[in-house]
Symmetry: C2
Subunit: 241 residues, 2 copies
């Protein structure tokens, strides 16, 4: 949206069919990935696939770029790996993070960038005054005083994620390995869009996207234990209809 409002040329790149990063040799051959782009965004772990991209692959990609690369790590607290060291060692790499996901502050809109001083200084020059509200800043600081609580929460979500993945696979879902707080899952028997309606009828809300790349999938947020139980029971009931 910001690119459009500045009349900037933009270019989105398709992931591989299994939602991994395309192989670098393929990217170098294809015109789709522009290694000379002024600005490149890579969301890792990715949404809505839930996949995390290996830091080694990201580093190889970054090395080929001449412009700035932003690694959007919004979901990184649910992942096994992060790419922070790339922002700390490369002059053109930024890691962007947020308090809106793992720290439950989505209502307050607080995020931050990590990167080399020269890039941070350039961003600082352009940022608007009062760009992060005061209550959000206090909320974000408070989360940092309670990392023990949040880390317990991340661990709980990962445990529930593993359990839900297992149970959905048992029911015949094809589940992508997730490094986030949601699963992308291809449901059996009925089209994904029908599942959306059948689950909604049972007062369970999941996401479905009309985009051809993911229209066969549901995106399912990792809820509490009882929410996840309700989903599994509903899915079993739908399959038993």
């Amino acid at each position: 949206m910001l690119a459009d409002s500045h009349d900037a040329r933009k270019n989105s790149v398709r992931l591989a069919a299994d939602f991994t990063l395309p192989r670098i040799e393929l990217l170098r051959k294809s015109k789709a990935w522009d290694f000379d782009a002024a600005l490149t965004f890579i969301t890792t772990p990715n949404a809505p696939s839930g996949r995390g991209f290996p830091t080694a692959e990201l580093e190889a990609l970054c090395r080929l770029h001449r412009g700035v690369v932003v690694l959007d790590e919004a979901y990184v607290d649910f992942a096994e790996e992060n790419a922070l060291r790339l922002a700390l060692t490369h002059p053109h790499v930024l890691v962007a993070r947020t308090f809106s996901k793992a720290y439950s502050l989505c209502f307050q809109r607080v995020g931050y960038c990590v990167g080399p001083p020269a890039l941070i200084a350039a961003l600082d020059k352009l940022r608007d005054s009062y760009n992060v509200n005061g209550l959000g800043q206090l909320g974000a600081l408070a989360t940092l005083d309670n990392l023990v609580y949040y880390r317990k929460n991340f661990a709980r979500i990962k445990t529930t994620r593993a359990r839900l993945t297992r149970q959905l696979v048992e029911l015949g879902f094809e589940v992508l390995p997730s490094q986030t707080n949601f699963l992308l899952a291809r449901p059996p028997r009925f089209p994904a869009e029908d599942w959306l309606g059948k689950l909604r009828a049972r007062r369970i809300l999941v996401r479905w996207f009309a985009n051809p790349a993911v229209r066969d999938y549901l995106r399912i947020t990792i809820g509490t234990e009882s929410e996840v139980n309700a989903l599994v029971q509903a899915a079993a009931a739908i399959l038993g209809e």
Copy 2:
């Protein structure tokens, strides 16, 4: 700052010596006021002078403009007049307001524009997603449920403002007529910058600006009754030294 970050040409216009709007005939002769500017901002009531500009004068100015005119009414709740009808009747006039002043939500950064549908639609096209945080939106809505409280507060501040003005004038201050929740006052006997230090030594904070246009003045926020009493007593004591 935003103009600079877009390399836009900008141009600030001096008010008259008594901080009123310069007379239109003078503006038309001078090169300082650019009636062809793409965007013109007028803060009314003005800061730091505290003066409100008559709507009739603002309308005459707006009529001469071909670009968009934004009337920044951040302090309007403390004023006797507002220019809302100009935004409702002219295709190129916007009124900007905020919950940061009279509604005490400065920490939450919520504001709004009133204007013709075509201008609002253009702003809507450019605004960033998630540009106002959720808690701020709830806070702003809550103030609208409590207008009785806020209006009582505006009235209280205006009463205190009149009283403080009178008492400062009795002490020899020259006080500009204020339509805001602060006074711009030229103190007697000592330079304004010395007053800043003398008041600070008595744990009273007022604002002083090095800018030549206002360096002889103090900007004094209208506080509670007891805060204003403390200021008046301190000023009398300083003059009695």
